[in-house]
């Protein structure tokens, strides 16, 4: 698709179930234009699972609004005694977490298999 709508779709999510856990696969860039959609998906998904696993393997970029969305979901998960686990973070995403000094508050794993064992 060409035109403004094509530009707008720089991030996509899809959700699947695995052994009672919900896994959200995210693709593309997370910025102020796309983070509201991610926030909504993650908050909705969290309601129906004890453990929300987010696959960052195909995320190229994240900005502070995306980080803020993740922090919000993490706080909701903690308040309801649930887990939020992230995996597959590339260097760009890891660096943003380091710059915002948030590497220690999130559960971060290399692979999906490891994330499901947390």
């Amino acid at each position: 698709m060409n035109g403004p709508e094509a530009i707008a779709r720089t991030m996509k999510t899809s959700t699947r179930q695995h052994s009672g856990n919900t896994i959200v696969d995210v693709t593309g860039d997370i910025d102020m234009g796309t983070s509201p959609g991610l926030r909504k998906t993650l908050l909705e998904s969290l309601k129906a699972t004890p453990r929300l696993v987010v696959n960052f393997r195909k995320v190229r970029y994240i900005d502070s609004s995306g980080i803020a969305s993740l922090v919000e979901v993490l706080m909701k998960a903690r308040n309801s005694k649930k887990q939020l686990v992230l995996f597959g973070l590339n260097k760009t995403v890891q660096e943003v977490l380091q710059l915002t000094r948030l590497t220690t508050i999130f559960e971060i794993r290399e692979t999906e298999e490891e994330a499901l064992k947390v």
Binding site: D29, D31, M32, I67, A68, K91, V96, L99, T100
Partner: protein, 158 residues
């Protein structure tokens, strides 16, 4: 709110073969243009021979500054204009943003200490961490934000 008034980046000729290299773009305050600006800034930093992590950081800082302008100066309205100029000097990269939106809150520009569970304020913190100089001015009818990043090994001004 209208989101259909974005304009393509506009390239300007260099001033002189050995002088500062400059380009300027005028864009709508539309978040859909953020990936376009990121690509441009990333390509520029790469072409200048900066290390990958520096390219990523500079791109992040420019993206955060632009997002802040859209969010705070223009209150998320997509149909205003932002002018972004980048000047490549021998010792630094300087980015200048001009907008005609609301004046910035000086307290916000001065980046508060990070609270790990706070939902906002990280963008300004990131910009200050990455860039060497951050100058904000409210002029007659517009805001001007200048971000400067020195090349590795360049001498900083006193």
């Amino acid at each position: 709110m209208s989101c259909n008034q974005g304009s393509a980046p506009e390239l300007l000729p260099t001033q002189a073969a050995n002088g500062p290299l400059k380009f300027q773009m005028r864009l709508a305050s539309d978040p859909r243009l953020l990936p376009v600006v990121r690509s441009t800034v990333s390509e520029l930093a790469t072409a200048l021979g900066l290390e990958d992590s520096q390219c990523r950081n500079i791109t992040l800082a420019i993206d955060e500054a632009l997002s802040n302008l859209i969010r705070h100066a223009y209150k998320n309205e997509c149909n205003h204009e932002i002018e972004l100029t980048c000047q490549v000097q021998a010792d630094c990269l300087e980015f200048t943003f001009i907008d005609r939106g609301e004046p910035a809150d000086p307290a916000r520009i001065c980046a508060e200490p990070l609270d790990e569970v706070a939902l906002g304020g990280r963008g300004t913190h990131l910009i200050r961490q990455i860039m060497d100089e951050v100058h904000y001015e409210r002029l007659a009818d517009h805001n001007r934000l200048r971000l400067k990043k020195y090349m590795p090994g360049a001498r900083r001004e006193a």
